[in-house]
């Protein structure tokens, strides 16, 4: 325990932690604090729009998904998130022909007819010479074939074909079982839906639950990247201070040292976030003096939602710094973070199994979040377990380095990256 406190002290007095602290507080103030002053409004009867909700309606889903598949077939690119990160898939001719077969079975449009829409990829603005030495912009819109799904196509067969298409694309596409309803079967919410959701926020979420989701959405963005800087700096501190060999030759086991450092990092980086969660709870409770709010909802959700991100980013930062360099750790975590943030997806409730940065950028849409709650749980457990696996790997790397075992590999990696 003594070592844990000493490591915490080292981190707390470091410049990287100060920067982290300023960034986290700054992000809270600029992003969340305004929302924490906004009261959740009760839906008014007679409104035109209450938003949308994903509901499995075959009559809606089938034509929408078929159109989506035709559009992607004609563009030649398919959007997918195979392991939670955006990927633009380009299929081989053979696989593309298989997609065409699926479209033919669903819509009756032959491959030849489909390929007749060759002007699809010329969509956009073209500059045409106007004869006077200038150019005139001409907007060319793509035309899609008319899609009619015959009555003979059953919903079960349709879903089977969509699964097949997803498999050809490589999984994680819009047509997978996990994504198809959310992508192609959005129905408008009714007043009753909106009111039920509002009541759930007050009764089940005790109000603060809704703010907790928004708080974690914002803070998740920053705690998914910044801990890597602190972790990399701490892991590199021994090397930078030329203290490596003094520490390597100490009696302490690599397991104890790495685990203590990891715990100290995770704890010191989590504490400011948890404190902000209490501040947020206090602000929200002040907004609803007449209601019985759950004061611990935001801190509790922060632990479950944000701690896995802090742990994962910290573990990756430590591992990559040990095996390679600080720069490599920041680069890899930065790439993962950027890929997750730039996902072309809804910001409310659309949480994939492997999404690094979980988003729910709304005080409302409780149902959208709850529908994906199992995915969310899987996701958070996955990143927690992954963090421990990476730490186990870090322990092994550290132990080998102490015996001089991995220095050759490290020198090679650094040597190559410098070259």
């Amino acid at each position: 325990m003594m070592l844990f406190f000493k490591e915490c002290r080292k981190i707390l007095f470091s410049l990287t932690f100060l920067i982290y602290l300023v960034a986290v507080i700054g992000f809270y103030i600029t992003q969340f604090s305004h929302d924490a002053e906004e009261k959740i409004s009760q839906p008014m009867q007679g409104c035109e729009d209450y938003g949308t909700i994903a509901k499995e309606v075959p009559e809606l889903l089938m034509p929408e998904a078929a159109e989506g598949l035709v559009t992607e077939y004609l563009s030649g690119y398919y959007t997918a998130y195979p392991i939670g990160f955006y990927k633009e898939v380009k299929l081989s001719e053979k696989k593309s022909a298989k997609i065409a077969e699926i479209i033919t079975e669903i819509t009756g449009i032959s491959k030849r007819e489909l390929d007749g829409f060759s002007d699809f990829d010329e969509e956009g603005i073209t500059m045409i010479p106007d004869g006077n030495g200038g150019y005139t912009p001409v907007v060319k819109e793509a035309t899609l074939p008319e899609i009619n799904i015959p009555d003979t196509m059953t919903y079960e067969r349709f879903r089977e074909l969509m699964r097949k298409a997803d498999k050809i694309i490589g999984g994680g596409s819009q047509y997978s079982d996990d994504n198809i309803v959310g992508n192609f079967s959005l129905v408008p919410k009714t007043y009753e839906d909106a009111l039920a959701e509002y009541n759930d926020i007050f009764e089940k979420d005790k109000i603060t639950g809704a703010y907790a989701r928004l708080f974690c959405d914002y803070m998740g963005i920053i705690v998914s990247i910044l801990p890597v800087f602190a972790a990399a700096a701490l892991a590199n501190a021994d090397r930078k201070s030329r203290m490596e060999h003094l520490i390597y030759t100490r009696k302490i086991s690599s397991v104890k040292l790495v685990l203590t450092r990891f715990s100290a990092l995770a704890a010191t980086l989590a504490v400011p976030v948890i404190l902000l969660a209490f501040i947020a709870s206090f602000s929200v409770a002040k907004l609803y003096p007449e209601n019985n709010t759950d004061f611990l909802a935001i801190p509790k959700m922060s632990v479950g939602w944000l701690l896995p991100n802090i742990m994962f980013s910290t573990a990756l930062g430590m591992a990559l710094t040990e095996i390679s360099s600080q720069l490599m750790a920041v680069f890899v975590q930065g790439a993962l973070w950027f890929g997750s943030i730039m996902r072309d997806t809804e910001l409310t409730g659309d949480i994939g199994r492997f999404t690094l940065v979980c988003r729910h950028n709304s005080l409302y849409d409780r149902n959208a979040f709850m529908e994906n709650f199992n995915e969310f749980l899987f996701n958070r457990i996955f990143y927690t377990v992954l963090a421990f696996i990476i730490i186990a790997l870090t322990i092994w790397i550290y132990s080998e380095k102490r015996k001089g075992g991995l220095n050759v590999i490290r020198k090679n990696i650094i040597g190559k990256s410098k070259a």
């Binding site: 080292k10 030329r242 520490i247 302490i252």
Partner: protein, 297 residues
Amino acid sequence: MEKIEIKNVNKYYGKKHALKNITLTIDQGMFGLLGRNGAGKTTLMKTLAGLHQKKNGSITICGIPVENTTEIRSITGYLPQEFSMYPNMNVYEALDYLGTLSGMTRSERKKRIDILLKKVNLTEHQHKKVKALSGGMKRRLGIAQALLHDPKVLIVDEPTAGLDPEERIRFRNLLTDAAEERIVILSTHIVGDIEASCEDIAIMNDGKILWKGTVSELINNARGNVFTVNVPQKYLSQIRKNYIVTGMLIQGDYSTVRIVSDAVPDLQGINTDEPNCEDAYMYCLYQNGCEVQGGDE
């Protein structure tokens, strides 16, 4: 069992054969490992400290095989050639942190740190940040951290390089004190350090042990092979070209030159002289076929 036994140890860095069949026994007291830069001293030191793995052979430290790293780390103290500590920690905090990593309790740390700071003359600087210490003070802090957990073996790699003469003497005395109750291995390329503090020594070159024994045996080995001659300065470059020159004293137009050689040099007025440790070391290198430049820079 208070000894280190090294038997037929080999170590490679890729294709480079860094330690070549090293066999050595080191008993309690001060042991000097002398050799040029790049001779393999640091590699041997690191192998003893468990920081490098040998290819084959065996090493036991006080009866414990070097592969048992946890036990080895608890009985050895190591001071590397190049080191520092967290610059923003003060002297006491740095030692306290390293003591914690050695598994010492708070009271053990307090007691040992106070004793060692006194011993290395850093008590009044204990609240000074590491980054504010001079080179000599940093070295003394280094020896304190290596002795913190009261190890049976102290491994010290090139500790006096870059120190002024006063600090060097002070440092050597610290090592001599430490050697009263433990094995101290001092690796250096500075012959004066060995001569002043070690009885038993080994000379390394190109990964091999060229010579092992006492300092007096090394000097005896060179007896009859050290010569002095008084020559006009204009012949100096010629002499340096043909002989191994270990010293020159310029006096006006003449210089007194020390030469080590197997045969009596064919120079007018040549005299046999008593070898010192430096002459003996140079003679040992020469005797073992090493390329020795002598005074020719």
